[in-house]
C-alpha cells in the first residue's frame, strides 16, 4: 500500500468513526449541538478528503475541547485511539518534509502494535488471566453494558479459559505478524474479529471504528519494513 493511499484510507475510516461518535454526541449533549454539528460536518469533509490539513486542524481543536468538556476521553480507550489517529493524521498533513510525514504516520502504526502487545503482556503476568478467572469476572461483574444472556457465559469456565489464552496469545504474537504481508492481513482480520466480538458482547462499538482507522498505517509500515 502506498503512503498516499494509506493516508487517504485513514482519513476515510477516521471520518466514519468521528461521524458515528458525533451523531451520538448530538443526542447525548444537546446544549453543545453547534460544536458537535460542526464536528459532524468536518468529519464528512474528512471522508471526502477535502482540505485535510485545515479539516484535521479544526477537528483537533474540537477534540481538545471535548477532552476539557468531559474531563478526559468520553469513551476511554476508543476515544484515546480516535484522537491518536487524528493527531498523527494532522501531523502527517502539517509536517514540513516527507521524512517527518512518514515519522508521524509510522508513530501511529507503532502505537497500534503496542496497543495489542502491551495489553497482552499486562494480562499474562496476572494469575487470574492465566486461569480464566479474570475473563469470567468480566462477564459476571464488569461495568460493560452487557445483556443477561451474555453474562451467563461466565458459567462456562473451560470456554473462558480457552478464550483468555486465545486473546493473550493473539495480543502477544501480534508484532510477529509484521514479518510478511499475508501474516499481517491475517492478524488484522483476527483483530477486527476481536473488536467486533467486544462490540457484540459488551456494546464496545466505538473501539471497532477507532482501531480499524489505524490499520492502514500498519499495512503501509509493514511494506516499508519488509518490502517484497
Amino acid at each position: 500500500m502506498t503512503f498516499e493511499m494509506a493516508i487517504r484510507l485513514t482519513e476515510l475510516l477516521l471520518g466514519l468513526a468521528l461521524v458515528q461518535q458525533s451523531a451520538e454526541y448530538l443526542v447525548l449533549t444537546p446544549k453543545h449541538r453547534p460544536i458537535i454539528a460542526s464536528r459532524l460536518i468536518l468529519s464528512g469533509l474528512l471522508i471526502l478528503g477535502l482540505a485535510p490539513a485545515i479539516v484535521t486542524s479544526a477537528l483537533v481543536i474540537i477534540g481538545l475541547w471535548l477532552l476539557y468538556r468531559f474531563n478526559g476521553p468520553y469513551n476511554g480507550g476508543s476515544d484515546r485511539m480516535s484522537f491518536l489517529v487524528l493527531i498523527c493524521l494532522w501531523a502527517t498533513h502539517l509536517a514540513p518534509a516527507p521524512y517527518w510525514r512518514e515519522i508521524a504516520f509510522g508513530y501511529l502504526a507503532l502505537q497500534l502494535v503496542l496497543s495489542y502487545f502491551v495489553s497482552g503482556a499486562v494480562k499474562i503476568v496476572k494469575r487470574d488471566w492465566r486461569s480464566g478467572v479474570a475473563l469470567r469476572d468480566v462477564f459476571l461483574f464488569s461495568a460493560y453494558p452487557a445483556s443477561d444472556a451474555t453474562r451467563s457465559w461466565a458459567e462456562r469456565p473451560q470456554l473462558l479459559f480457552a478464550l483468555s489464552w486465545a486473546v493473550m496469545l493473539f495480543e502477544l504474537l501480534f508484532p510477529v505478524a509484521l514479518v510478511t504481508q499475508s501474516s499481517l492481513y491475517v492478524a488484522l482480520l483476527c483483530a477486527l474479529f476481536f473488536h467486533l466480538a467486544n462490540a457484540y458482547f459488551f456494546g464496545l462499538n466505538r473501539f471497532v471504528w477507532a482501531w480499524a482507522a489505524a490499520f492502514p498505517s500498519l499495512i503501509w509500515l509493514q511494506g516499508m519494513l519488509f518490502p517484497v
Binding site: N71, Y74, A143, P145, A149, A199, R206
Partner: protein
C-alpha cells in the same frame, strides 16, 4: 445500569444496530470512567457528571413528591481470593432533585 434495565437477551439485529448507534451504552461507559476518575483522584468534575446523571434519572423516573430529595452511593465489587467482595466507597449527601447541574 443506572435507570436502565439490563436486557435479558440481545438479538443479532439489535447488536448490529448498536454497532452503529449505541448512545446509551456509551454514556454508561462514560459514567464508569467518571466513577474511576472520582475514586482515583477525587475528581470533582467527575462527581458533578455522576450527580447530574442521577438527578436527571430521578427527575425522569419519579413524579412523586417523595422523591424530591435523593442520595446515591458507589459500590466497588472486587475479588479477594475466591470470594467476591462489595465495598461502599462513596455515599453522597442528600441532594435536591430540582437543582441545576452539569449534564
Amino acid at each position: 445500569m443506572l435507570f436502565q434495565e439490563r436486557p435479558a437477551t440481545l438479538s443479532f439485529v439489535q447488536s448490529l444496530k448498536s454497532f452503529f448507534w449505541n448512545p446509551a451504552g456509551n454514556k454508561y461507559l462514560f459514567l464508569v470512567t467518571c466513577c474511576e476518575q472520582f475514586l482515583a483522584n477525587n475528581s470533582q468534575p467527575a462527581l458533578e457528571h455522576l450527580t447530574a446523571h442521577v438527578r436527571t434519572g430521578v427527575a425522569e423516573k419519579s413524579s412523586a413528591a417523595a422523591y424530591d430529595r435523593f442520595r446515591f452511593r458507589l459500590v466497588l465489587v472486587f475479588r479477594e481470593g475466591d470470594a467476591v467482595e462489595r465495598e461502599e466507597v462513596y455515599r453522597s449527601a442528600i441532594l435536591r432533585r430540582d437543582e441545576v447541574g452539569v449534564s
